[in-house]
């Protein structure tokens, strides 16, 4: 077994290909999957059509409701589809099929059926994406009983999580970050290397402060930790990877040790997942906290286009650092 350098998009593609080789009932559907580009943005499906053919790499019409609905139907009928809705913004076109059907079928039919599907829908601000191509909607799905939600930060997360997602018997919302598709990282070539869903990764050990985040924000938090270290603050960086379920054990352990928690998210802070984590820690670990929990997230505005406004909107490393320091100044 060895480690190979590849982009996150390639890492997901490798993970998908390995699972398709392992299980002939795994297949993918979505717009532009089988053209020379293989999923227009970052070659997410490049070459898969040649290996697996057009029954398993299905290039669909622009029909989001049916992409999602067909995945649900195909899942209850004994296959394991990976539905690609490209961006979370277009995923909204198919929220009904995902939320009213995929998430509910097992429960409302009394456990008769399982819905083993994965829906890929990318999140995050991509430069100049503006209001309809930059949204991060993970909280919508974390709020929905029946769904599993994962969001990789590294190429290795991306591969391990797609493999685990495909092997999960319930619907999984797989939210990669558009800005990270072309980011390179080290990935294992061992087809048996999975990442357990529900298991966070501690990217950096620290003793003074715990920063919990996911997706691209985990990488920015890591940068923030470098800067904080030079200022004498030792930050522990937790990359959640899996948002539902989330790894409470790892976070509880970390916060018990550091006594300080900052949650950093890219999505709108109001009613975001950071609110849930903060409330949970405040309720359950109050005795260990040296100061109250802080959050950082996007303001409650649509994503603006023009660069200065986009920069105003973004959660940046500098802003994470500033927020982190607040935990040491105020009570």
């Amino acid at each position: 077994m060895s480690m190979i350098t590849m982009t996150q998009a390639a890492a997901v593609r490798e993970g998908l290909a390995e699972e398709m080789r392992r299980d002939p009932l795994v297949w993918a559907l979505g717009e532009d999957l089988s053209t020379a580009h293989g999923g227009t943005s970052a070659d997410q499906y490049l070459g898969l059509i040649d290996e697996f053919g057009d029954k398993r790499i299905v290039n669909t019409p622009i029909s989001e409701n049916t992409i999602m609905g067909a995945a649900v139907g195909a899942a209850v009928a004994g296959t394991r589809p990976v539905a690609d809705l490209r961006m979370a913004d277009f995923g909204m076109c198919a929220v009904d099929e995902l939320v009213n059907q995929a998430a509910k079928i097992r429960y409302m039919f009394g456990g008769q059926a399982r819905v083993p599907l994965v829906v890929r829908q990318a999140i995050g601000v991509r430069k100049g994406g503006a209001a309809q191509h930059s949204q991060s909607t993970e909280a919508w799905y974390i709020h929905t009983p029946g769904l599993v939600v994962v969001a990789p930060a590294t190429a290795s997360d991306a591969k391990g999580l797609i493999k685990s997602a495909i092997r999960t018997d319930d619907p999984v919302v797989y939210m990669e970050h558009k800005d990270l598709w072309l980011a390179e990282g080290q990935v294992s070539d061992n087809p048996n290397d999975l990442i357990d869903i529900g298991k966070a990764s501690i990217m950096r050990q620290g003793s003074d402060l715990t920063i919990v985040s996911w997706s691209k924000m985990a990488l920015l938090s890591l940068q923030a930790a470098d800067q904080l270290k030079s200022e004498g603050i030792s930050a522990e960086i937790i990359n959640l990877r899996s948002l539902w379920p989330w790894d409470k054990d790892t976070i509880y352990k970390s916060v018990s040790k550091t006594g300080r928690l900052l949650v950093a998210q890219e999505s709108v802070q109001v009613a975001g997942f950071g609110a849930e984590i903060s409330a949970d820690i405040s309720e359950n670990l109050n005795h260990s906290l040296k100061t109250y929990v802080r959050r950082i997230g996007a303001p409650r505005t649509p994503v603006p286009y023009s660069e200065p406004m986009e920069n105003e909107y973004r959660v940046t490393t500098t802003r994470i650092i500033k927020k982190a320091k607040e935990l040491f100044s105020a009570p």
Binding site: E31, H37, T40, N65, K127, A298, Y305, S306
Partner: protein
Amino acid sequence: MTNNTASNYPARILEMYKTMTLIRAFEEIAEEAFDAGLVNGSIHQYIGEEAIGTAVCANLRKTDFILSNHRGHGHAIAKGANPEAMMKELLGKVGGTSGGKGGSMHIADFSVGMLGANGVLADGLTMGVGAAQALVLRNVDAIVTVFVGDGTTNRGPFYESLNWAMIYELPILFVCENNTYASSTSTRKVTAGPGPVARAEAFGMPAYDVDGNDVREVDEIASKIITNIRNGGGPQFLHAKTYRIKGHVSRDKMLYRPEGETEANWKNEPISRCADWLIKNGISEAEINSTNASAYKEIRDALEAAIAAPFPDGKLAYKDVQDLGNRYLGEHS
């Protein structure tokens, strides 16, 4: 109705030639701006499709509404939006059509009835239906036109909109711009049946096929059916065949496109076809050349003005969210 034997007919076509050239210049110079790193986001170009938006909008009034899609620059210019304000929007500058909030995919100019480009496919259709309902409710003598791509005819809202428009006999024109591609996919490969006209006819909607690269043909049919709609004839459907000369989006390398296809279609592009006709019909080559020169100058000036314009204050990000709750937006400190 256009009367193409009238003595002022070549002058009418020359006007359309000017608009098409302005759109072409805008798209080419916007691409230069993109390549120079001046455009924050991406652009979807309308090159080769100019005749459709131009001829349709030539038959619309300022009080009529249009709803556009992601490939909306041409629709906006044809409906009368200011190219300089549009260029400023692409560069995210003060004076942009949306003050820099939206960018290329969200150009709108409500003052000329351009109710917005759109980043989400097919949403213009359903909103167009509603805009037509509003015209009826308000008893306004105007119509709605919705532009939709060939690939988007496979989304459910397309059918919901056509059906709805028919049952309420709304004053609405659907224009399907069939450039044969949906992103990197050849639309034919993912589309059943004979195509958009048959689909519209299935709802009982009068539907017309036109050569979308022939501005005179688009004008002739558009003029006829828009008059029908104004006279209470209900929804109509125009299917304009064309070709997307450029990549889907600014970064598209077009690896999926068969060799020679672009070049073959370029021979059929609408602007030189129109120029040929004009020259045969009494417009001098000098006039054509000066039209070209002034269109490119206008857009170059627009780009210069956009470059010179200031960026908006970042804090404007918090403006225009909604009326209530503005104290709680969670502005970054």
